[in-house]
Symmetry: C2
Subunit: 219 residues, 2 copies
Amino acid sequence: MLQYRTEALTDAELEREREVAGGLAQSTRDLVDAVVRTTLPDEDLIEVRKQVDELTARLRSHQLPGSFGIAVTPEGTVRNHGNTVVGLRNAMAPPLRVQTDPGGRAWADFTLGAAYEGPPGMVHGGVTALLLDQLCGEAAAAGQSPGMTATLSMSYRRPTPLGPLHGEARVVRTEGVKTWVEGSLATGDGVTVECEGLFLLPSWAVEPAAWPKHVHRFE
Amino acid sequence: MLQYRTEALTDAELEREREVAGGLAQSTRDLVDAVVRTTLPDEDLIEVRKQVDELTARLRSHQLPGSFGIAVTPEGTVRNHGNTVVGLRNAMAPPLRVQTDPGGRAWADFTLGAAYEGPPGMVHGGVTALLLDQLCGEAAAAGQSPGMTATLSMSYRRPTPLGPLHGEARVVRTEGVKTWVEGSLATGDGVTVECEGLFLLPSWAVEPAAWPKHVHRFE
C-alpha cells in the first residue's frame, strides 16, 4: 500500500528542485500569510484573486494527476516534498527541517506565523499535534523502527504562542513492530505541549528491508 | 489573555468579507495545491514565483501587524477567519464548515487534497488530529462548556485516504470547567480515526459570561 515511485533525478537535480520548486512554495507560504493579514479594500482583493487564479491555471497546465506521494532517486534519497509538515513544495508546511540521530531522536527549530493560529496570538492546539506526530514518526524512523501512528496522546501544559519554537521527539522503547516515542514543543520559556505516541509497521506496509535506504532522511 | 477586538462591521458587511476575502483565500488554496502538483519546468516556476511575490507585496502594503485573532461584530458574530482549521481567510484551512447543535455536537463534511498528504495518497495522521481538535473544541463550545484543549488522545484504526471525509465530535461529560469530548473521522467505508479529549476553561481565560453571545458559532 505504501508505494514509492523512482525518478531519474540525480542529487544535483534534486538540489535544483529544492531551490526552484522549494522557492515557489516559500513565496506561496508568504502569500498565505499575507491573505490572512491584509486590510486592502475589496476591489484590490478581487484583482489579486484574479491574478492568483491565472497563476494556478498556468501551474495546472502540467501537473501530477493526484498527490505528490513519495519519490525516491536512484541514489536512494527520499523526496516527500508534498508532506504537510516537512514538504518543501507544500506551502502548508512551515516546513520543518528535521534533524535526526540514529539513536532515535528527531528535532527541529521553526517559527509559526498567522496561518497557524487557533486562540488569538496562539498556535492552534491541533497544529502542535500535527507537528509532533511528524517529529515522533521521524524519531521512530531514525531509530530504524519506522511505522505509522497507532496512538498519539497530547498533553497541553500551557498555550503555545505564535513565534519561534523548538520541537523534539525520542524513541523510548521498541518491541517487534511497535515503537513508543515521546515528544514536546517548547518556547524559550520552557515546554508548552508534551506527547506520547505508539508507532506500528503494519502488515500491509512494505517490509522494512524494502524501505528506501535513506527513508529516515526526509530531505 | 483571550482578547477579542470589536469591529464595526454589520452582518451584511461581514457577508461581503466572506465572499471577497474568503474567495481570495479559496483561490490561494488552489494555488497551494497546484504548487505541490505542478510539473512545469524550472523557468516557468521562477516566473510564477516572481508574480506571487508581487501579489504578496501588494497585499502586505496594508496589513494587520500580527495574526488575525478573533474579532466580534456589534451584532455578536465571531470572526475567527484566521483559524488554521475553519478560517475563511486562511488558505491552510480546508476550511471546515462546522455545524453544531446545543446538545454539544459538532460535525463537518469536507474534502482533503494533495496539501494534506502524509503517507502516499493518505491524509497526514497529524492533520486528522488538527481537524479533530477543532471539532472537539466546537462541540464543547456548542454544549455551553467552551474550553482549551487539555489532553487529546488519538487512536488510528486504519489509514485515512485523501478525498471526501466526515468528521464529528460530541460532549460525553462535563464537570465544572472540565468537558470530555469524543470524536471521529470517517470515509464512506467507516471510521478511520477516533479521539478523546479533555477541554478546560482555564482561570486566565475570560469568564464564560463575558464570551461573545455567539462564540460557539464560528462563522
